[in-house]
């Protein structure tokens, strides 16, 4: 990129490479359009969708407002049901807790059900450093892990891979992790799924420790909830002797009844199904059914910072459905990797800079990774106003200054002063209108931006002048 404009460094650089990858763009386009269309149909089945959305928003807002109370209640409920609750302020502490719990079992491998929280804290790498192998068991996560790759979508992490690529990864890598891919493996999805089934089943059957995240935790009852499709989640949650769940503190809801809202909105928003094939719910431990030992690790890792931000805290309502990714024109072209975070797409653009802070180049660039078209807000089942938070974060990034932001900060300050001084604004508008024939077609210093865009033509008369002339007279006439 020639010159950095308005502080858009990392995301555009990563996105530029992505948009030149024709296969990637085709895979992404096919996937996002397919899910988007199906989702619209699934949502249309419920005539009270808007009310469910509002209820979900309100339940989450209410929970966040009293998060201390509900976390304490959750802890008491889980403990009473036979579980053990741990608190982790950051990623390092959470990883330490999990590694110590695994070591205490005497095991050196764990099976994992897909979890955004454990990706966020880099648990697999932390366990590996302690000599513990963590096997991802979701088919897409397996593809990503075997491919020495990173996930690119919240719901379908291997969305950037097509069947041929997946077959090649399985043939090449499965043998080094366990059972090798069958001879003559084809690229038919059913064959690929069968290869994954055989490969992972031997791990499930011998697993002694399972690691999960959770979609929801119920304060009132201590119930933990995991939505999934394949059954790998049920395997990880049911067969091991010890289960360790790492969950962000924002995942709590107050009551059992609250789940009735999210059980209706999450699957339809996420996989565009009336209901996902499997949902597991467990409360502590049960006699002779499932793990005899259950640990819940409650994770902060930046969430309380986000909670302290009046505008930004709404991002904590997110239920990780990924509907916003599938409608986003920027995500569709750039793909998930460009966002430089486990949370891609519009939600990632507001969540990551809040959880990690805006000091780094990538986090400072993420609030700009959007056209502010608003489609993400329209589909969000908990009505997170993502564009509002993006603009809010842009302001913060600009305030922070740094490369590329000084120009913008100066411009915002100047605009602020002008808008606060009506006489100056009026004078400026008049001057602009009178000199409009002389205006350049590009903005000085913003060549790359204006090269691809038309500058708007200024009208002969400002709106304020028009109003003064037409409406104030009209009002006088009426009175």
């Amino acid at each position: 990129m020639s010159g950095t404009y308005l502080g858009m460094p990392s995301f555009p650089r990563a996105a530029r490479d992505a948009v030149q990858d024709v296969t990637l763009r085709a895979n992404l386009r096919h996937a996002t359009h397919t899910i988007r269309d199906k989702r619209a149909k699934a949502v249309a089945e419920l005539e009270d969708w808007a009310r469910l959305r509002e209820a979900g928003k309100q339940i989450k807002n209410h929970t966040l407002r009293h998060l201390d109370r509900y976390l304490e209640q959750l802890e008491a409920s889980v403990t009473a049901a036979g579980g053990t609750v741990h608190w982790a302020a950051d990623a390092a502490e959470a990883n330490r807790i999990v590694a110590d719990l695994v070591k205490a079992t005497g095991q050196n491998e764990v099976v994992k059900v897909k979890s955004m929280a454990t990706q966020e804290i880099g648990l697999n790498e932390a366990l590996e450093a302690e000599g513990i192998a963590a096997y991802e068991t979701d088919l897409a996560e397996l593809i990503v892990q075997l491919g020495h790759d990173r996930p690119s979508h919240i719901l379908v992490p291997a969305i950037h891979r097509n069947r041929g690529e997946i077959r090649d990864i399985f043939r090449k890598e499965m043998g080094s992790w366990g059972r090798a891919a069958p001879e003559g493996l084809t690229e038919a999805p059913a064959d690929l799924a069968e290869a994954a089934r055989l490969h992972l089943r031997e791990k499930f059957l011998r697993a002694k420790v399972g690691v999960s995240g959770a979609n929801f935790m119920v304060a009132e009852t201590g119930t933990i909830v995991v939505f999934e499709s394949e059954g790998n989640g049920r395997m990880c949650l049911t067969l091991p002797e010890t289960l360790i769940s790492v969950v962000g503190i924002e995942k709590v809801v107050p009551t059992w009844r609250d789940l009735e809202v999210f059980l209706q909105t999450l699957p339809r928003s996420s996989t565009a199904e009336r209901m996902n094939p499997y949902t597991s719910m467990w409360t502590g431990t049960a006699d002779a059914d499932g793990p005899g030992t259950f640990h819940l690790v409650l994770l902060d890792n930046g969430r309380t910072d986000s909670l302290a931000d009046e505008v930004g805290r709404q991002a904590l309502r997110c239920i990780r459905c990924s509907a916003c990714l599938n409608v986003c024109p920027v995500y569709e072209r750039a793909g998930g990797h460009a966002y430089g975070s486990v949370y891609p797409g519009p939600i990632g653009a507001i969540l990551s800079p809040q959880l990690r802070g805006i000091q780094s180049e990538i986090d400072a660039s993420l609030p700009y990774a959007s056209s502010l078209c608003g489609a993400c807000y329209e589909v969000c089942p908990v009505a997170i106003d993502i564009p509002e938070v993006l603009v809010h974060l842009r302001e913060k990034v600009a305030d922070q200054g740094g490369k590329g932001h000084r120009v913008e900060r100066a411009a915002i300050k100047a605009a602020g002063w002008v808008l606060d001084h009506p006489a100056a604004l009026a004078a400026g508008e008049k001057a602009a209108a009178r000199t409009r024939r002389l205006h350049p077609r590009t903005l000085p210093g913003a060549g790359p931006w204006t090269a691809a865009r038309e500058l708007p033509e200024l009208p002969a008369q400002s709106f304020r002048d028009w109003w003064k002339k037409n409406r104030t007279n009209g009002k006088k006439n009426r009175t």
């Binding site: 608190w87 379908v156 799924a193 059957l205 009844r257 996989t271 209901m275 049960a286 302290a308 805290r313």
Partner: protein, 210 residues
């Protein structure tokens, strides 16, 4: 009490100290989207189960043993896991070897069993969902997970509700719960839906008229 516990709670309190009070969440959404007609609700359940590729049958209590025998036979199942509390009559017609969950059965033993027959706690028509709560005739969660063929019997209308909001008060959250909507499935490869990745590849549901 850990230091992190206290510090996280303190940070939460500081973060929301100035936040406005929130009202009780509005619950003006519908409790059902379906007319209150047991026959229509049962038809909807049938349709939605089938839409997600469960294979659905209807039977009376008298027809059930023969139907179960036929289903086991069709799939070539020679052994069948039997959860505690399963009505003995359900398996009287089959010659498949019954395996009760005594010992209990290990994961490896379950992996070698061909089928499992269970009842359920509840079924939800609007979403095509069966809820298992490890109660009588259902057994441990592993029974309906490791075994590849699941035959599930739903009593209608007693165990059928129209909607998720109607289901919630009838489910005990303290029990280990599994909500099943069709067989195991994945759409991870180019969004092509494939049945049976890790859970049962085949789900046969019998709607049993009381």
């Amino acid at each position: 009490m850990s230091a992190s516990r206290e510090s996280i709670l303190a940070r939460v309190r500081a973060a929301v100290a100035d936040a406005p009070e929130t009202p009780e969440p509005a619950r003006d959404y519908l409790t059902t989207h379906t007319p209150d007609d047991p026959a229509a609700i049962l038809d909807l359940l049938h349709e939605n189960l089938a839409d997600y590729r469960a294979i659905v049958h209807r039977a009376t209590e008298d027809e059930l043993p023969a139907l179960i025998a036929e289903l086991l036979d069709t799939h070539g199942a020679r052994s069948v896991a039997v959860p505690e509390g399963l009505p003995a009559a359900w398996l009287t017609d089959t010659s498949a070897e019954p395996r009760t969950d005594e010992g209990p059965l290990t994961a490896y033993e379950l992996d070698a069993i061909d089928a499992v027959v269970t009842g359920c706690a509840l079924a939800i028509a609007e979403t095509g969902t069966i809820v298992l709560d490890a109660g009588p005739a259902q057994g441990r969660r592993a029974l309906t997970l490791v075994v590849d063929l699941h035959i599930c019997v739903v009593r209608a209308p007693g165990q059928v509700v129209a909607s998720v909001p109607q289901a919630m008060p009838r489910i005990d959250p303290t029990r280990p719960l599994t909500w099943i909507s069709g067989p195991s499935a994945t759409s991870d490869i180019e969004l092509d839906r494939v049945e049976g990745v890790h859970g049962p590849r085949t789900l046969e549901v019998v709607l049993l008229r009381d």
